[in-house]
Symmetry: C3
Subunit: 427 residues, 3 copies
């Protein structure tokens, strides 16, 4: 993968098309295959953590795999078929192979009366159960009958799988970017996050970075807890972090602040969103949502926010069969990727210099940095950028903060800083 994707190439969307059919869960082959597809683009390391391993207050569960599942009526028709849509099976269902009446079957059928045409996405990771999800409309058509019910799954010792990529930069301190990979055939939640993060990582691999970037592709909750348990000694390196997902809809960005609330990542993401021409929403941390719940638990309290294009759970297609290709677009995915790249442009500028001539202004003219007669419109902004960088390079303000203070573009500020550095005016 070289160069940047553009909207006619449909790279982001095409990657989602590849990933869509897999039946992901918090463990199992679906997730493993997902990570294999990601690793074709970026060199992630794939970790396996055995069932029963203690991770913080939790334990790695049995691994779940499923080959087939259906409900057949007495006429032998598959009226519900896992192979047509993997959402039909209650995720983490234990195996079953039985004939039963509608009455016996009914407690195992899940639908959404308020959205009668949609199949819900339901899970039962931590209490053993089996079941099928179907539209409320279809549920209404089911007649008294003897149904053949099969779930060809197993739940046994195995491992939890997650992917990790560290892109080393000039500094050891890290920018953490995570997305969950545990949802089956749902486009916005979470394939959009997987696709954008993959392409974002790919683009960072092509450039020299100030900071080190760590990408995590992990199952929700248990994955974050597992990673935190295994990396507890190194989390102090995380200076900026974003948990992401829900990036495929053409809706406004929502940024949920880190629990700290005024961390540098909060200031940067809010600033970047405020400079875009579209509306956006910023909300304070709440202990509900995605894996920021774990990264921001009080014992870690990391500077990790949550950036999505829609609030958690606040779109009607959320966790239903309607979270499909009708909902997302390459345009929205690409816009999300660009927003992330803009955030990273500001994170990369979040470094501090020291003015070597802090008393009064140094004379720029004698160093060829200043246009003496003035009047050249094209150089005015750069001259102003010199003054901003010199005045605020006091050890307390990064280039990004100078960009925020001055309202001048971070790239111009970086350019001015580079020129001042070459003249040994800042260090």
């Amino acid at each position: 993968m070289t160069g940047q994707p553009n909207s006619t190439e449909n790279n982001l969307l095409n990657f989602i098309r590849e990933l869509y059919p897999l039946c992901r869960s918090i463990t199992g082959e679906g997730s493993r295959e997902t990570l294999r597809l990601i690793s074709r683009h970026i060199p992630i390391e794939i970790h396996e953590v055995p069932t029963g391993t203690k991770v913080l207050d939790w334990e790695i569960p049995n691994e779940w795999n499923i080959r087939d599942a259906f409900i057949k009526n007495s006429a032998g028709s598959r009226i519900i078929d896992f192979k047509k849509l993997n959402l039909h099976v209650l995720n983490y269902s234990s195996p079953v192979n039985a004939k039963m009446s509608l009455e016996e079957l009914r407690p195992h059928l899940f639908s959404i009366p308020e959205k009668p045409s949609l199949v819900p996405y339901r899970t039962s990771y931590y209490s053993e159960n089996w079941g099928f999800c179907l539209s409320h409309d279809q549920l209404g058509t089911l007649k008294e009958d003897i149904y053949e019910v099969l779930i060809d799954s197993d739940l046994k010792k195995g491992s939890l799988t997650y992917g990790e990529l560290l892109i080393k930069g000039k500094y050891e301190d890290e920018v953490l970017i995570t997305t969950h990979i545990c949802h089956p055939s749902l486009c916005n939640d979470n394939l959009s996050g997987i696709s954008v993060c993959t392409f974002l990582a790919a683009s960072l691999l092509e450039q020299n970075n100030m900071w080190s970037y760590r990408f995590l592709f992990i199952p929700g909750t248990i994955g974050a807890i597992t990673w935190l348990a295994r990396n507890e000694q190194n989390v102090h390196k995380i200076r900026y972090g974003i948990v992401t997902s829900l990036l495929g809809i053409d809706s406004i960005f929502t940024y949920k602040r880190s629990r700290i609330g005024t961390a540098q990542i909060d200031r940067i993401v809010e600033y970047v969103l405020s400079k875009r021409s579209t509306p956006f929403k910023v909300v304070n941390f709440i202990p509900y949502g995605y894996d920021e719940r774990q990264f921001c638990s009080p014992g870690f309290n990391l500077p990790v926010g949550n950036l999505t294009r829609v609030s958690f759970g606040e779109y009607p297609e959320y966790h239903t069969s309607a979270d499909n290709f009708d909902l997302i677009s390459e345009k929205a995915l690409l816009d999300s990727l660009n927003a992330f790249r803009d955030v990273i442009r500001h994170i990369e500028g979040d470094v501090r210099y020291m003015n070597q001539y802090p008393k009064g202004e140094p004379q720029l003219g004698k160093r060829g940095l200043y246009d003496n007669i003035g009047g050249r419109n094209d150089s005015k902004m750069l001259q102003l950028a010199f003054l901003w960088v010199l005045n605020y390079s006091d050890g307390n303000h990064s280039l990004t903060e100078i960009s925020m203070l001055s309202g001048m573009d971070i790239d111009l500020i970086k350019e001015a800083a580079q020129m001042l550095k070459e003249k040994n005016l800042i260090k």
Copy 2:
């Protein structure tokens, strides 16, 4: 007194009816009898501090008592009669028994030209004087005559009297609630405060409390100074405090912040008022008003605010004969009592727990605290409350602060905390 008053019982108003006729002042039998009537409801301790006792920069004055006072015209009619309305006498008037012309009398007559039909309430505690208050209308009708003037009072060594009730809670730290008891026949200022504080104390006596509650029924200024002088060593125990009065009018609440301005009592009262459906006003501390002037003097600077239903002096009937039963209602008094009880509900929740599993979320499911399948609407809020309490029980946030942060009702937060405590998840 058992159970809670309701508006048809008129308990609050009836108590005011009992207290109204007494001629209170900063000392004397009127105040002593007022305290005796209060002690029928709640077990206050009645303190007597002798005349001449030094209290901070002040000294306890002579005790004032009055039996009768009138102005008779030459025809022998009592044209002004203390027995009809005790406001008619300048409070703390020295005795007089004389005949005099209107010209001689006039410097001792006080009225309000702007409110010609009302009798003003006036005092002269610290400079000896005598006088009568009357309506400006009546003043205009007075003719040249020889008037018989009697004030049958004495001003001699005695004591200053105040009432105090300490309701011990689990903690020694205290919530201070004070109201002044020095005004004679005035309903809103200050009988409404006496009545609401009495019933509030009674309800706190019926429940187990986290904090200790100290109620003071004191004469204005000199009473607060006296109590502070005698309790200087213990004021550090006061963690929350409210000076109150003016609680009988159906007007918006006004909260005047403590001098600290951001004390926990300020945050709590402002939050409670903001959650009510009615408008309210919050103002910064000013060194003028009620006894918060003394509690917030710079040498004490206690976290004591002032809660009233109308700003100090900002209602037309203030300090006049119109501050009577036409002005106040049981409904308003009861609403005031409820607002205080709501404040106390939040003060009682202002305790901090420590999450015992602060790294990542503890697994609630395996402890039976979490509904695994989800979908039960009635448990969603409680589950959310678990997450809020766990995430913010970091030693820096009380349950009340968690309630404020989350917007969830303090009772639900307390309930969630109780359940988490039983599972040893918080301590």
Copy 3:
């Protein structure tokens, strides 16, 4: 100069009339003569700093003097004449005496196409050049011809000149007020600043001051750098500072905060402006503008703001021949002077007392400070001022801060403080 100027006397404007004809620059006789005229009003010390002296990162340049300059056409007419308007010469032009074609002359002619009728003010201090400034209209009329071009100037070793006045107060700590003196015939920028600062200093010489006041009349940039270089050891004495100019237009005041942003000078100027009946503007520090650039460079970071009646460069006549007597008025100059005097009234009140009776209110009545009966309208405000001064004289609030908190006039607060001090209630 005795007493205060008033608008019919036109003192401020007349002083500008005297100064207007001089050809000022960053060095030379024009500036020296300007300082001599100032010293007729106030006893400034005139400093000379030799060419070549190192000042921070800079060096004092050659001194520039000019006697005559013109462009004559072949008919012998002076079509551009320095003696008619000194703006016609590029300030700091090196000498020239030559005949040349229009084509050769053109690179040395400066006009403003957007303001075709105005002559621009241009300088070339630090890169040797010569040139003439003329209206764009006139430039359009120039024909092919052989022009006689004369600039009778010299640029040689000499010195930089600036004026300084220290008015000693009760305290050694200083209030710094500076204005630039390097602009030739321009009224608002900078003669208005020179005139207002001169009369302000004169009025401060006539009164006893708490703080010491230091006035600087300096050439822009190099003057500030020179003063800072020579006074580096004493800048810590500066507790308040204002760089000023642009005071002659009847436009809204603009205050640009010090780099600190919340310095006492910032609070005071913003408060004073907010109490005036006219709109005003407050902006954060930016490292561009007048000499606050130097005083607020990160190595000094002094509490120095910038007060003008119009933002830097934001009026159409700025740096053109239209910045003349049509633009300014005695009324605006006087209003500026009054605003400065108001700022100084608050700086003078920015001293802290300690309440000697901080526990409870001291009894004012027994000390004759309190009107016992009350009701005297004229004393109410003073009584209130006593309470404010007593309550906030806690070592953390100056009288000016008490004035801001209470909204009471600083003079009343000062008067109350004086009375309390006489009774030993505050120290």
